[in-house]
Amino acid sequence: MSYIPTREEIIEDHDNVVYERTCLLTDNPLSYCPGCGHGTAHRLIMEVVEEMNLQADTIGVAPVGCSVLAYDFMNIDMQQAAHGRAPAVATGIKRLMPDKFVFTYQGDGDLAAIGTGETLHACNRGENITVFFVNNGIYGMTGGQMAPTTLPNMKTATSPFGRDTESMGYPLKITELIAMLPGTYYVSRQSVHTPANVRKAKKAIEKAIQYQKLKKGLCFVEIVSNCNSGWKMTPEESNKWMEENMFPYYPLGDIKVPK
C-alpha cells in the first residue's frame, strides 16, 4: 500500500498545481451574473495570450454591453470603443501598430445589431485583427430585450409572446455571413459550457491568434453562450436550453478554415 499524501501536503507544494487562474486576469470580481459564459471566454483568451507570451504586445478593444468593463478584468492594454465600433477602432490601432496583436471582444447586440456595418466592412477589408464574438441571443445588460440573434419564438422582454418571424424577421447568422467574404481568413463557432467545448474553444482562439501574424485577413471566433438572467433560467438549465435550441440554429464547428 502506497503512502497517500494529505490535502495539506498536496496544496502546499505549488509544483502540484495543474490548473490555476491566469495572472492576466485582474483580481477584480467579474461583473457578470453567476454562470455567465463571458467569464470563461475572458479566461480562455487571456490564457492563450499568456501561453503565447504576447501580453506586452496585445491590445484589446472592449465593446458596449455586458462586457463593457472587460478592460477592468483583462490585465493588458485595452481601449473601450463606442457601441458597435470596436472593429473600426481596432482597424485604426492595427494600421498604426501593425506588429501588435489586436483583438476586439464583442457581444451580439454590439457586433450584430448596431455594429453590423463596422463588422461587415472590417471583414470585407480584410483587416488583420481578431474578433471574438459572444452570442447569447439577447441584450443581456439592458434587461433581456430582443436582439437580431434572438431565436424564432424565443420570449424576451420586448417579444413577450415569442419572436414572430413575420413581423420581426429571422435571427441573423452573422458568422456565416462574414465567412462568405474573401477578407476573412479563419471563421469558427464554439461554445464554453462543457469541459470538452472549452478545450475546443481554446484551440480555436489559439488559431485565431496565430493566424493574425500571417496577415492574411480577419480571424473571427463566435462563442455561443448562455444568458441565464435574460432567459430566466438557472445556469444549468440555460446550458441545456442552449444545447437544445441554440445549437441547431447556430451549429458549432469551423465555418471557414485556411486552405
Binding site: 502506497s2 503512502y3 498536496i10 495543474v18 487562474r21 457578470y32 453567476p34 454562470g35 467569464g39 470563461t40
Partner: protein
C-alpha cells in the same frame, strides 16, 4: 487503486455559486456549501477524497475560482 490524487481549492470569495462545476465532476467531489460567502452565495466545496485532478471543474468555472492540484502516487514494488 488510483495512481493519482487530486485536490481542489476554491476561492470562496470569488465563487458565485452557479453550480456549473457540480455536474461536470465525474467523481462527485464538489457540492455547494451550506455556508455563504460575503456576497451571499453558497460557494462550491470539496466533499470527499475522490478527486483525481481532471481540471473539468476549473475549465467550466466562469469566475476562475478553482485551483486544481494533482500528485502521482508512488506504488511500492511487490516482490
Amino acid at each position: 487503486m488510483a495512481t493519482v490524487k487530486g485536490e481542489i481549492v476554491v476561492n470562496t470569495e470569488r465563487c458565485k455559486g452557479c453550480e456549473l462545476c457540480v455536474p461536470v465532476c465525474k467523481e462527485k467531489t464538489i457540492a455547494m456549501s451550506a455556508n455563504l460567502n460575503s456576497k451571499g452565495y453558497h460557494f462550491a466545496s470539496s466533499i470527499n477524497d475522490d478527486c483525481n485532478g481532471c481540471t473539468n471543474c476549473a475549465l467550466v468555472c466562469p469566475d476562475g475560482a478553482i485551483t486544481v492540484y494533482r500528485v502521482k502516487l508512488k506504488e511500492e514494488k511487490v516482490n
